[in-house]
């Protein structure tokens, strides 16, 4: 079970990379995606199939088990009434194991925006965006045991909820799904670093050959692989600055190394002169990155607590969108090459992949969550797709051609994803 998803993911990314070389792995098909198909459909195809494969090994897992629970007609109904005076009250407060539908009515509790069904620290189901005067609902299949209904901000935040007996069908275990997510994500990072080495070495060679145009092409080819996994790279405090620091962040007395001094020479000074040492160091640093991420990956597979943690993957998904907001949408990242949209797309792609690995686990927590976030990802990718330009370096409209209205449109679509995405780390902690 541990190796299967990793292999599938790698295969998918390879296919993807081969098909589109530079960019757009996964997003190319998304403009056609429709209705409930998730934004992650193309990128996470491998992930989903891996999950399905895994589910044949034993208990039912992921979205299939959870989503079926609401539709088999046998669901018990629990009414949760949230009031300013009494907090959240469930009626009945005891049900038999199996599918349960919670109908929630926030009557007048102004400070309450969500309700969760929790067991100790684990969320089994939840509903957000509760608003006074409105009803909401969610369905979940629950096993026997003691639970709490948790309404943060209510007068009484927690009330006991009891489930008797045994569920007819056992749901997948969240911990297993999260471990699987971590392993899949480790595989994704390994692949990106591996793919990164090839264009970086091409860059090194083009510089050695004094071939400016080839060096520019190789630069644009390399960037997305790094940008997809930026939060991981940033977790190595010495390595990321050596690879990706921009000139304004270089402390006095420190040498400026990595991608960006090379970028400045290639695109502003338009020369490969004097870049050999920088290129050699970049290759060495990327190889060091590969070693370190390989160790992380091994630790993740060994599940020894030293590998990728699921909440870190969730934070990484949100963090990648921060990267876009802070340095791509502003045109600061690729100040000389103007390929900021290429980085933009790569950050989004990396975020989508991280999210996709968590999908089966998130589906267990709240079946409405993944479609909601995926739809926003879809919207973002659709907006981004308008700026593809095959004739431009990197395949995207140069940053300097964007109008203020373009940037606002992209920012709005980005914020719409990031807001719900920023909530998922808390949902998967246990």
């Amino acid at each position: 079970m541990t190796t299967l998803p990793r292999t599938r993911t790698a295969a998918a990314v390879l296919t993807c990379a081969a098909a589109l070389v530079l960019t757009a792995c996964g997003s190319s098909g998304s403009s056609e995606s429709s209705t409930s198909a998730t934004a992650a459909a193309t990128t996470s195809a491998a992930v989903s199939s891996a999950t399905s494969a895994a589910s044949t090994e034993g208990s039912a897992t992921g979205s299939s088990a959870t989503s079926s629970s609401g539709g088999d007609g046998a669901a018990q109904v629990v009414t949760v009434t949230i009031t300013d005076a009494d907090g959240c009250v469930a009626d009945p407060d005891t049900v038999a194991a199996g599918p349960v539908t919670f109908n929630i009515n926030n009557v007048d509790a102004l400070g309450v925006t969500e309700m969760e069904l929790v067991a100790e620290q684990r969320i089994l189901g939840e509903r957000e965006n509760l608003t006074p005067g409105f009803d909401s609902t969610f369905s979940v299949r629950i096993d026997g045991g003691s639970y709490e209904i948790f309404c943060p901000g209510a007068a009484t935040e927690r009330t006991p909820f009891t489930v008797t007996g045994q569920a007819a069908e056992v749901t997948g275990d969240l911990a297993d799904l999260l471990q699987q997510a971590a392993v899949e994500y480790a595989g994704y990072v390994d692949d990106q670093v591996e793919f990164l080495i090839t264009p970086v070495k091409e860059l090194q060679k083009a510089i050695a050959d004094g071939d400016l145009e080839a060096a520019q092409q190789a630069y644009a080819k390399a960037r997305p692989f790094y940008e997809r996994i930026e939060p991981v790279a940033e977790s190595f405090p010495d390595l990321d600055p050596a690879i990706d620091l921009r000139i304004g962040d270089v402390e006095e007395g420190t040498e400026w190394t990595g991608f960006h001094p090379i970028e400045q020479a290639l695109f502003e000074k338009k020369t490969t002169d004097g870049l050999n040492d920088l290129a050699d160091k970049l290759v060495a640093d990327i190889e060091e990155l590969q070693k370190l991420t390989g160790e992380l990956s091994a630790a993740t597979i060994a599940d020894n607590g030293k590998g990728y943690q699921p909440f870190e993957i969730a934070n990484g998904a949100s963090g990648l969108l921060d990267e876009v907001l802070q340095s791509k949408i502003t045109g600061e990242e690729e100040a000389y090459s103007k390929i900021d949209l290429l980085d933009f797309e790569a950050n989004v792609e990396g975020s989508l992949q991280a999210f996709a690995t968590l999908e089966p686990a998130l589906d267990q927590i709240d079946p409405t969550l993944v479609p909601t976030i995926s739809t926003k990802f879809d919207d973002l990718i659709a907006v981004l797709d308008d700026y593809r330009d095959d004739s431009a370096l990197g395949g995207w409209t140069p940053y300097t051609d964007l109008t203020a209205a373009d940037k606002k449109k992209l920012t709005d679509a980005l914020l719409a994803v990031q807001e719900p995405l920023s909530q998922i780390a808390a949902k998967i902690t246990q």
Binding site: A109, T113, T131, F134, A405, A416, Q423
Partner: protein, 448 residues
């Protein structure tokens, strides 16, 4: 400013008493103790005046807007038959936001309006979004910058733009005639798309800048995925007086602005000119009011080189005292008929005070609620980017704002020094009555 300097009942001079017929009548409160006086007198005045005004007019006593005394602790009731922030004594700070709705799901839009109502109810009590401390691995419920500050008389007023009434939410049949686009109004040639229009607006007013920012920031955050910020404006100084006991403030040209604004306690004028009543073609707006905003850039550098005599001629008033050029004090009635030795009218026929007067506009008045603003420096010209963020409320913008602005936009001497660069018209529905109610509930739930 370019906006109607319409007369209104003045609060202070008991000798003369209120009379809304009196043009530019009343007496000045005096410039002394401008800030402190206003601050101290404000809450006390409001609490004293309010019940009497309500009794006189037969107005519902649940009208949002009653305030308490301490400035930081002062609270304005959020719930009421009317939205607060319209006739509420004007606070010192503004943040205005215009949003575009991005969802096409009417239910999602209503939930947003419900969430906004819940947030506004808490913010106006000085409370954060939620009392829950939140979860370690989730972003906090509230952004936190107003924690410990107090409500500072915060009001949150929400409005709907004409663009909301298209086919997205099934509202096409519910567009009030009064909200239909004003068409081209003289002086609009300088309007800029990026400061204009919007499906929804939020007007947050308080006596602390961080409190208004916090309210709008969190409401815009709650809208992510449902609506996006189209444009916004921070206003730093009250440029009108809506409450009895408030001194007449000055605009950035140094002139007293809105000397004769309608005051909240002049309930007859408020009823006649501000609140929508049974006459509306859309009953969901009964009890609401229409907000017109105009972002009016001042050509500060040019104004600063204009001589005093010309500045006073443009306004028709003395700069220092605010008295009309025909003599007296700030609130002395203007004699529009008086001519000088040269046979010309003392108050120029194109002066701001003459053109904006109700007499020149068929008796039309509106309730002004403007703020001075600056956006720093214009990146293109290097000039100060500053002026007046004019806001006014009325029953019908076509019959009120447009009438006055059409006259001002054509021949006002002030036009040489100002430009209308943004704004919009929004329908502010009646108040949110209780927890569980929301902005515009009747619009969505009732057949009209």
């Amino acid at each position: 400013m370019t906006t109607p300097d319409e007369p209104g009942t003045q609060p202070a001079p008991p000798a003369s008493g209120p009379s809304r017929r009196r043009f530019l009548g009343g007496a000045a409160l005096g410039a002394a103790g401008l800030v402190g006086g206003a601050a101290a007198g404000y809450g006390i005045r409001a609490t004293q005046d309010r019940p009497a005004a309500d009794t006189d007019s037969g107005e519902p006593s649940s009208v949002a807007g009653a305030v308490s005394v301490d400035k930081a602790a002062a609270q304005v009731d959020f719930y009421g038959e009317r939205q607060a922030g319209i006739t509420t004594p004007q606070q010192e700070r503004l943040m205005f936001a215009s949003l575009d709705v991005t969802t096409t799901d009417a239910d999602e839009l209503q939930r947003l309006l419900g969430r906004w109502a819940a947030m506004a109810a808490r913010f106006t009590q000085g409370k954060p979004v939620s009392d829950s401390p939140g979860k370690p691995l989730a972003p906090p419920f509230d952004t936190g910058e107003a924690e410990d500050l107090g409500a500072y008389s915060l009001t949150v007023t929400v409005g709907f733009g004409a663009s909301l009434f298209d086919d997205r939410f099934g509202l096409a049949g519910k567009l009030p005639a009064a909200l239909k686009p004003l068409g081209t109004v003289p002086g609009d040639t300088t309007m800029r798309e990026n400061f204009t229009g919007g499906d929804l607006c939020i007007q947050a007013c308080a006596d602390d800048p961080q409190v208004v920012f916090h309210a709008v920031r969190n409401m815009v955050r709650a809208a992510r995925g449902t609506a996006t910020l189209r444009w916004s404006q921070l206003g730093f100084g009250r440029a009108s007086a809506t409450g009895a006991g408030q001194t007449t403030p000055r605009n950035l040209m140094g002139f007293k602005d809105g000397t004769n604004n309608i005051h909240a306690d002049d309930t007859a004028a408020v009823q006649e000119f501000v609140w929508v009543g049974d006459e509306t073609d859309q009953q969901w707006m009964n009890g609401g009011s229409y907000l017109v905003a105009r972002k009016i850039r001042m050509e500060i550098e040019s104004w600063d080189t204009d001589d005093l005599e010309d500045q006073e001629k443009i306004f028709g008033r003395e700069k220092s005292s605010g008295a009309p050029l025909t003599g007296g004090e700030e609130f002395t009635a203007i004699d529009f008929n008086r001519t000088g030795d040269d046979g010309e009218p003392v108050i120029d026929i194109n002066s701001h005070v003459r053109l904006s007067s109700p007499e020149a506009n068929g008796g039309v008045r509106l309730l002004r609620r403007g703020y001075n603003y600056t956006d720093g420096q214009d990146p293109d010209t290097g000039k100060l980017a500053a002026g007046l963020f004019f806001i006014c409320y009325q029953r019908d913008p076509h019959a009120q704002f447009k009438v006055v602005q059409a006259r001002l936009g054509s021949t006002d001497l002030l036009n040489e020094y100002i430009a209308h660069i943004g704004g919009g018209v929004w329908a502010c529905p009646p108040g949110v009555t209780a927890a569980g109610d929301w902005f515009g509930k009747r619009l969505f739930t009732e057949n009209s």
